[in-house]
Amino acid sequence: MIKASITKEFRLIFSDLHSLAVLFLMPISFMLIMTFALSNKAQDITQSVTINISSNSTNQAEALLNVYLDNAGFKLNEAAKPDVSLSLSTQFEQALFQDEPEKVVLFSKKNSLSPQIASLVEQHLQIALAKVKLHLYLRDTGQISESQPLSEQIASVTSQTDQLKLVEFSHQVSYQAVQHSIPSWLVFGVFFIVLPISITLISETQNGTLIRVTTFPISNKHYFAAKLLAFYLVSLAQGLVLLVIGFCFIPLLVDVPSVSIGHLIYALPFLAITCASAVTFGALIASQIQTHEQAIVVGGGINILLAAISGLMVPLDIMPKAMQSIAQLSPMHYASSGLKNLFISHSELLTFNTSLPLIVFSVVCGVFALWLFELKVRKLKWK
């Protein structure tokens, strides 16, 4: 019976284009889109920002500011309607060396410029101002000569600021955003197993199959458990496909360190736990859903809400503390954290703090789903 149940569910899912799209196409698309969207280097971002600098006078400091911002990659004084306008006062150069300087740079930005990009420009402006100050100081102290070509002067200043070998990074700093997004969208996709489970249960309820099954020599709990096992295997197959594509192939497209297929074996136990939590959670929701419309709105809606509070859409560490606490209640948070550990740090061990909550969650959801399914069957009535 279990074999027949598994075969049946596989056949039903793989003959349903909508289910396949939800389980495979949607998460793969998300992984690809978000990977390309987040793979931009800082240099690529600054190149897309236009800055106009205006002043009432000409001095060395202003010229140097132009050079340092240009070196950072910004497009200077090219646009009629720039993203950022910097207006320098006549006291600009003197203010650089004052103990309590006046505000001499007026920063204004286009309303449409995102806060993140505006913040990046502000950071680059502060760095450029610091370099200008250092540049002028090194000139005054004779450590660099005005007779030197400007490029050499700048190289000398930059060597003392950008290339300080004081910090050793224990992790790979580049492309972190991509490495965070792939596990997130993988987990998001795996939890969408709720839709095929709901749709199957709704169809069976509406067309009388479930009533028919109640007259077969199998208990409701066994029937539901066999169905969940079938969906669990479907979920594992889905998770495995997404894992291979997301961890091994997509990183290659954007020159991000990928995980070797051989190394994926270490991710399988955690994937199995993640799939169990997704299937039991899906079963819990499906046992209460009555119509296809509810399946889409409730099943899909709950997944999107969980993804939002779990830090799948916005990184958790930039959320307020209260939101971070709420995320601790979501299975998606633990699932994505666990997979990120495996992906980013190439960890080979299941971590207790991500696996245990998921196991407990799966057991609780599974027990409740079985109980609620039994209640649902008891409410069935011959139409």
């Binding site: 027949a4 349903d16 009388g208 009533i211 028919r212 109640t214 199998i218 139409k383």
Partner: protein, 301 residues
């Protein structure tokens, strides 16, 4: 009928939904024996579905008892001997006929899966479409598949809800013939349908549900009118003479009399024979068509 033949017995069954302040079914008593075909008719909302839900264990009675082969072990009997054919296509449209049969056969225990599938395919003449997806079948074949799945169990009791609705005459004939065969082989059938001609065709006993009460339609059929046409006009004095002897006589034409609610037509004819009446040229005693009964019974509902 021996007590050994009794398969299902409903004794003073009463059912009330929690949300209602009245009984949906009350005082339902019915004995169903092996090989019988019971027709259950009534308008929507009369309580048919509730009664079937009680028989199939989907609902539990508020009062009264249900016996299955003289035992109250309801679930054991249902799971082993009872099969349902819902009005909806209770199978998986995206699977083939064979895959559907395989799946439902896998839910059974201790069976030769291959042989029961072949038997169901043959009985319902589904061999030609065995590898076709159910969603691509005609309505007639879908109905046959719906029935074939129920037959996998070799049920002692088969409950069918409008099994021929919306299908072609060939499939309809096949299903009705198959049900007649099953009945002859000892399968008990409970048949609900709004196609009253079918109910009349295959059911020995027909029950109507009215305001939660079970009414034996066959008993009503015993009270059909006796219509007598004479060769000459019936005079008022002759009519008085007949009325004095026989109750419920109505003149329904110059030369026609109708004796309403005639329980014993032969006895009445014998009594008429004692009188000197014009020559009788036609006697019509036919039970009312089920449809007329149905209208008579349920118009007010």
């Amino acid at each position: 009928m021996t007590s050994k033949d009794v398969l299902i017995q409903l004794a003073d069954l009463r059912f009330r939904y929690q949300s209602n302040d009245f009984d949906t079914l009350h005082n339902i008593s019915l004995t169903i024996s092996a090989g019988e075909c019971i027709g259950l008719i009534g308008p929507n909302g009369a309580g048919k579905s509730t009664l079937i839900s009680l028989i199939t264990g989907l609902l539990q009675p508020t009062a009264g008892s249900l016996f299955y082969q003289q035992s109250e072990a309801q679930q054991a009997f249902i799971k082993q001997y009872l099969a349902l054919v819902p009005q909806e296509y209770a199978f998986y449209e995206k699977l083939t006929v064979m895959q559907n049969l395989h799946y439902f056969a896998s839910l059974l225990t201790k069976i030769d899966e291959k042989s029961i599938i072949e038997e169901a395919l043959t009985k319902c003449q589904l061999e030609a479409v065995a590898t076709k997806k159910a969603q691509h079948l005609s309505g007639g074949y879908k109905r046959r598949l719906n029935l074939a799945i129920a037959l996998l169990k070799h049920p002692k009791v088969l409950i069918l809800d409008e099994p021929t609705v919306g299908i072609d005459p060939i499939s309809r004939e096949l299903i009705l013939t198959l049900l007649t065969d099953l009945k002859q082989q000892g399968t008990t059938i409970i048949y609900t349908s709004h196609l009253l001609s079918e109910v009349e065709q295959i059911c020995e006993r027909i029950y109507g549900l009215k305001r939660g009460e079970l009414i034996n339609i066959n008993a009503i059929g015993d009270n059909a009118p006796l219509q007598i046409s004479f060769a000459e006009t019936i005079s008022n004095s002759t009519l008085s003479e007949i009325s004095a002897l026989i109750p419920n006589v109505v003149k329904t034409g110059d030369s026609q009399l109708t004796i309403e609610r005639c329980k014993e037509p032969l006895f009445i004819l014998a009594q008429l024979n004692q009188l000197s009446l014009p020559t009788i040229c036609e006697i019509n005693f036919s039970t009312l068509h089920l449809e007329n009964y149905y209208k008579e019974l349920f118009t007010e509902q």
